[in-house]
Subunit: 413 residues, 2 copies
């Protein structure tokens, strides 16, 4: 037998060491930008980090102080794979407020949404299975499915989210080839990266299509609480709240509390949840007990409920700052949408400009964004880009918009 590939560093032999999944793994375009955005002089419209101003630092300090006086040593021990009992009850209440009447056997907690996506991907998807993805969509979900060697096909969006007629076309075309769709991955509320929100009519239509055609809807909802105006609320009810829909629903505390406290939750039929629990038993045993305990205390004492109006106002001010500055400074020919919540908007450059090529010029003017291509499973997006208004304060968002407008103007010459 030949020498261990492990010790031979020539490319070919090292590759042989890795699984087929590992051979398709590739760095995240957004994480790759983090070296640029780590420079505080750069205004980052790139990453999807929450604003530090949204974190309830004082409440968390208070909870830490309580724990420092009266620490339940049970928190230091292994916990239940399904999650902290008290926090599970709080989350059942949160689901109910979102229109999802859930029993405990329909819920599992996990260390963040990305972990939930991975666990669901593991139990639902085989290599070669077909997953439909909105174009554009969240690169973390694309990476998760790519690493499982799932075949992803795109469904276009317009101002009201994914276009149901186009979804029907894709389904029809696959059906005529005798191929079956396993699931549709969708972010109906303030989509990442498009900022679009799926209309209630379309939610009903997508649920009905899924029932009829026999595919699952994987509904990812990190941003649904972050609407700018209270009037939006009713339109944001999850697809999962439509009775009898074949939905698995993921949501998280990352955008409404703090992503460092790695806690998300998955709701679905008990058969799916119990498989996810088996997968989790063999892949992480349990999530951080302290993180779960802090979130539990924060929810139980009404902290989250009190904080949400403030956080919504914060992000509305962020969104208005960016949108206002874009409107006053962007040259004609640049198009973007006006999200009514969330973290992101999607921008299209005039014909002839490419977002990847333009990035260096933007960074030279001290502003960063994420070029559109990594969001698009159909290879499109070259002339598009994502702008995030979550992290930077309003004044810097305005500066960033102006710098970006200057960059575009320069490139158009």
């Amino acid at each position: 037998m030949s020498a261990p590939p492990f010790l031979n560093w020539e490319e070919g032999e090292v590759e042989e060491l890795f699984s087929r999944d590992a051979r398709v793994m590739a760095p995240s375009a957004i994480r790759a930008l983090s070296k640029v955005t780590a420079d505080p002089a750069i205004i980052s419209l790139a990453g999807g980090h929450p604003s530090a101003d949204s974190f309830p630092a004082e409440e968390i300090k208070r909870i830490l102080a309580e724990l420092s006086r009266d620490l339940d040593v049970g928190l230091l021990q292994y916990g239940a794979t399904a999650g902290h009992e008290g926090l599970r009850r709080e989350i059942l209440g949160i689901l109910l407020e979102r229109g999802i009447k859930a029993g405990g056997e329909e819920l599992i907690l996990c260390s963040g949404s990305q972990r939930g996506l991975d666990l669901l991907g593991r139990v639902l998807l085989d290599p070669g299975d077909i997953a439909l993805m909105e174009v554009p969509s969240y690169p973390g979900a694309i990476a998760c499915f790519r690493n499982l060697r799932v075949e992803m096909m795109g469904v276009p969006q317009d101002g009201e989210g994914l276009v149901v007629e186009r979804l029907e076309e894709v389904l029809g075309s696959l059906r005529s080839q005798g191929r079956r769709v396993k699931l549709l991955y969708t972010i109906p509320n303030f989509q990442n990266p498009s900022g679009a929100t799926l209309s209630p009519q379309r939610r009903a239509a997508v649920a009905e299509l899924a029932r009829r055609e026999g595919f699952l809807i994987l509904e990812d909802d990190p941003y649904g609480e972050l609407y700018f105006e209270d009037g939006e609320r009713e339109k944001l009810r999850p697809i999962a709240s439509i009775s009898g829909s074949p939905v698995v629903y993921i949501s998280t505390f990352s955008k409404i509390l703090a992503p460092g406290l790695r806690t998300a939750f998955v709701w679905g039929p008990p058969t799916v949840i119990s498989k996810v629990e088996l997968a989790a038993q063999a892949s992480d045993l349990c999530s951080s007990m302290l993180d779960q305990r802090i979130i539990y205390e924060y929810c139980r004492t009404g902290g989250l409920r009190r904080a949400l109006p403030r956080i919504r106002t914060l992000y509305r001010e962020h969104g208005e700052a960016l949108l206002g500055a874009l409107e006053e400074s962007m040259p004609k020919g640049v198009e973007w949408n006006r999200p009514r919540g969330g973290f992101f908007l999607w921008m299209r450059l005039p014909a002839g400009l490419e977002a990847e090529e333009m990035l260096q010029a933007a960074v030279a003017r001290k502003v960063a964004y994420v070029p559109g291509r990594p969001f698009c499973v159909d290879g499109s997006g070259a002339n598009a880009l994502r702008l995030s208004f979550s992290k930077e304060p309003p004044e810097r968002l305005r500066q960033g918009a102006h710098a970006l407008a200057e960059t575009v103007r320069e490139q158009m010459r």
Copy 2:
């Protein structure tokens, strides 16, 4: 197209919903016992939970109090996939003390050893690949590899750990079939569940075999710091410390600090670690920032260094209590080993007795253990069982041993 399998609960149609990986997933035998061991009247020699007396509750309270006064809000934000920078430095120091001179590109942190196993399994193993497992071995690793549909083959152990001649036989037999072994999973120190420690001579021989035959060693070391006598220390040097060995090494804070603070670390060649980082980016983004920060502070201020002698004494007293009580009460024909550290010992019942059958009688006498079969990939272990002396205090360990001896005696009649 037929109705969605999602909505039809007949067994066959629901199964169709799941991936091939998910169809082989099965509940953990140890977790299934947790309902029994949750009863405080039951003396649990079953689970591998650390003793609550080993947790540095006061130190952790002190760190929580400091954080409650001066919280770095960076802890609430997304963190680096590779782990908390300060804790990474501390871990490089810990590795050095264990004889592993590591650079930062050889290290990644993750949310517990089980998470590390899953990430390594994902990047290294394809369905059908061959992994060699000690018989008996850790059921969490067996479940992780089973869920990846890896083919596991057993290598027997004796009092000095895995038997190198038997490993050579297995390798030779596979070679003659033209089949290749991808990796050997081994726990050289105070093995779970055998309690055996691989001798230094065997470590060198296994490393040499791996180099020659071209397989990886996946070295799992949760218990290496938990030796009963200081004289053992030098014999416990990881295989990873042998220069040029094809080893990936996992260790954790779960047994020497607290499993609730989900933090483990993986050391290996940069090519492997960078693949693990890519896998982690798409499957959990980062681990709990607060857990990592607490462990960092604990290590940085010397807490771990000060605590270890006390923890070693604690478990030595536990081990001696169980071993002494077994010696004075067990009937002839029952055999067990005398571990020199760790959490576990392995017991063989006299011919005719089966550990699974006997469990109910043991529980009736208020003592629980884990039957041997789930530890053995070759189907053996029916007359064996694992006893854990980690969690219960010495007095209850003695009571448990006596109750177990009574159970065996009764069954032998």
